[in-house]
């Protein structure tokens, strides 16, 4: 197997693909958004419960799950994302997405970022960037309470 392919299919990714975390509908969700990748048919729904913060404090993601079907990269990315977003505010989630996006497009991960760095190998496969970001697009839409399905085609990545 080539170095690029080994980089792409890291153990973390294979593990999340095989044993997805937080998979399935969330009965207590108060936000839902759906993501589609029309070029390959991958789908991802993200369910989350946003709890109001203390007075003057922003809302936080109390619980989050995803459901859908797609390749190992898209499924592992959505699974890992749910583990990273729990407890975050919308602003924190957006910041994390920006960091994740930088990782998958540049191949470089800042040192303090651990698990998401597993997706650095995606940058060598530009066609797969959309797979890696599908769940994130759905999650950000859910946070914005945007009912329109997220589609990877409306994003420049």
């Amino acid at each position: 197997m080539s170095a690029d392919l080994t980089e792409l299919y890291q153990q973390v990714i294979l593990d999340h693909n095989r044993r997805p975390r937080n998979r399935g509908k969330l009965p207590t969700a108060n936000r839902v958004a759906h993501g589609d990748n029309p070029s390959c048919g991958d789908q991802c729904s993200v369910f989350l419960r946003l709890d109001p913060g203390a007075p003057g404090q922003p809302d936080r993601i109390a619980e989050i799950s995803f459901d859908g079907s797609g390749c190992a990269i898209s499924q592992a990315s959505a699974s890992l994302m749910t583990t990273q977003l729990k407890g975050k505010t919308t602003a924190e989630a957006e910041k994390l997405y920006n960091e994740f996006h930088a990782i998958v497009t540049s191949g470089h991960a800042p040192e303090e970022i651990s698990d998401l760095a597993a997706f650095a190998g995606v940058h060598a496969f530009p066609a797969r960037i959309k797979c890696a970001t599908l769940g994130w697009h759905a999650a950000l839409n859910a946070l914005k309470n945007d009912a329109a399905p997220a589609t990877t085609e409306s994003h420049t990545d």
């Binding site: 197997m1 390959c40 991958d42 390749c71 990269i73 499924q75």
Partner: protein, 413 residues
């Protein structure tokens, strides 16, 4: 298995390269075919010697370009045995051709209460334009169902009988399914449609370059196909229309080249084919498409069809031994065109295609522009290997070996 490929591989410059350090195994012919040297040379020759606008100039180059362009039209007419070159309209491709019929013919003939019939196995380009035409006219769109959990039974002919009522004004169907490899009995479809007075549209994108095709023997009204899937260039395609129908049809696009007399207020149209070719046509690619017709007929499409089918049967045999594989479309031994579409339990098509690419094997993974069919089969995507005249039995071994590695990596085998 014929050894047709032994002589033709040298004709295709692109095949002789390494991809990711391995010899290229190009098995994505359903998406687009590769081009023989003769077609590439025709493009270069045209731009180096003859390039000029057609039908307008009186100088030498323009006359040469016009002759070559009209020669290509006559060549394509012979390729599908059209009665008259005027029945050949050059378009951008299958999608463009179908849209032309859907808009021009649909606008003129469809009304509320009418039915447009298509099938459950159409490419989006032979479904969505009919959805639009039905919506615009108030007609109803219906689909002939496909039989079997793996769509192995082909289209339901009993249901077709029920559906083909006198309300059906147009029946649009594919000759060969790009997703399943199913070969539809198109002559029979044309006959049954004619019996109720319905106009027929055949999507021949996957068939004209792969098997003999005779519009008169089929009794087809409209036929659409793309140059790029039959050894020709991208950006050029054909709409065949029966002369009697074309003569009654209003143009879809208007402008230069398609008019006879223009005043500030109004214009009159030339007859077909010019009526449907507004603006400067794609001269170079049309000429090269004519050369692609020469190339394919020199090989004989009977032989190409036999070669494609033999490769598909061999692939079926070898692929069916892989653990957890689900092959969709006709069962082993049943008639099938030169492609095989499959899915694995536990490994997504996207991952399969990325891994195969590492071994130089070019496959297609996804919904193949066939989302409703995928949904019906309970799939989101499949991997497809599609063959052409230059593919070899050894390439099928390379495919299977690559797939075995993938299954091992994902712990499925």
């Amino acid at each position: 298995m014929s050894d047709l490929w032994k002589n033709v591989r040298v004709d295709f410059p692109i095949l002789h390269q390494q991809v990711n350090g391995k010899p290229l195994v190009y098995l994505d012919n359903g998406a687009t075919s590769q081009k023989p040297r003769a077609v590439i040379d025709a493009l270069v020759r045209y731009y180096e010697r003859d390039n000029s606008n057609v039908h307008r100039g009186l100088h030498a180059l323009s006359m040469r370009a016009t002759d070559a362009y009209e020669g290509a039209r006559a060549r394509v007419a012979r390729f599908i045995n059209a009665a008259d070159p005027a029945e050949i309209i050059f378009t951008r491709g299958t999608t463009d051709s179908i849209n032309l019929v859907a808009r021009s013919w649909g606008h003129a003939h469809l009304k509320p209460g009418d039915v447009v019939l298509t099938t459950e196995i159409e490419h989006h380009s032979n479904l969505v334009p009919w959805q639009q035409a039905a919506r615009a006219s108030g007609a109803t769109l219906k689909c002939v169902p496909v039989l079997g959990a793996d769509a192995e039974g082909g289209l339901d002919l009993a249901a077709l009988d029920q559906l083909l009522t006198p309300q059906v004004k147009l029946f649009a169907f594919t000759h060969i399914s790009n997703t399943l490899g199913t070969i539809n009995p198109v002559a029979e479809f044309c006959r049954r449609a004619r019996a109720v007075g319905a106009v027929t549209v055949i999507d021949a994108a996957q068939s004209v370059g792969h098997a003999p095709f005779d519009v008169q023997a089929l009794g087809a009204d409209f036929v659409a196909f793309s140059g790029h899937k039959m050894c020709g260039p991208t950006g050029i395609g054909v709409l065949y229309g029966r002369r009697a129908l074309l003569d009654q049809l209003a143009p879809d696009e208007t402008g230069g080249g398609m008019v006879v007399n223009v005043t500030y207020e109004a214009a009159t149209w030339k007859p077909a084919p010019e009526r449907f070719e507004a603006g400067t046509p794609n001269v170079a690619d049309a000429i090269a498409l004519g050369v692609a017709c020469d190339y394919l007929d020199a090989l004989s499409r009977d032989q190409i069809a036999a070669h494609d089918a033999a490769l598909a049967q061999l692939a079926m045999e070898k692929l069916s031994l892989l653990p957890g594989i689900r092959i969709i479309g006709p069962r082993a031994g049943a008639a099938r065109s030169g492609l095989v579409s499959f899915a694995f339990e536990g490994v997504h098509a996207h991952d399969v295609v990325t891994f195969a690419d590492e071994d130089g094997v070019a496959l297609r993974g996804g919904h193949h522009c066939n989302q409703p069919l995928m949904r019906k089969l309970g799939l989101t995507s499949t991997t497809r290997a599609s063959f052409y005249v230059y593919n070899t039995p050894e390439e099928i071994d390379a495919l299977v070996a690559s797939l075995r590695k993938i299954l091992e990596f994902f712990g499925v085998a």
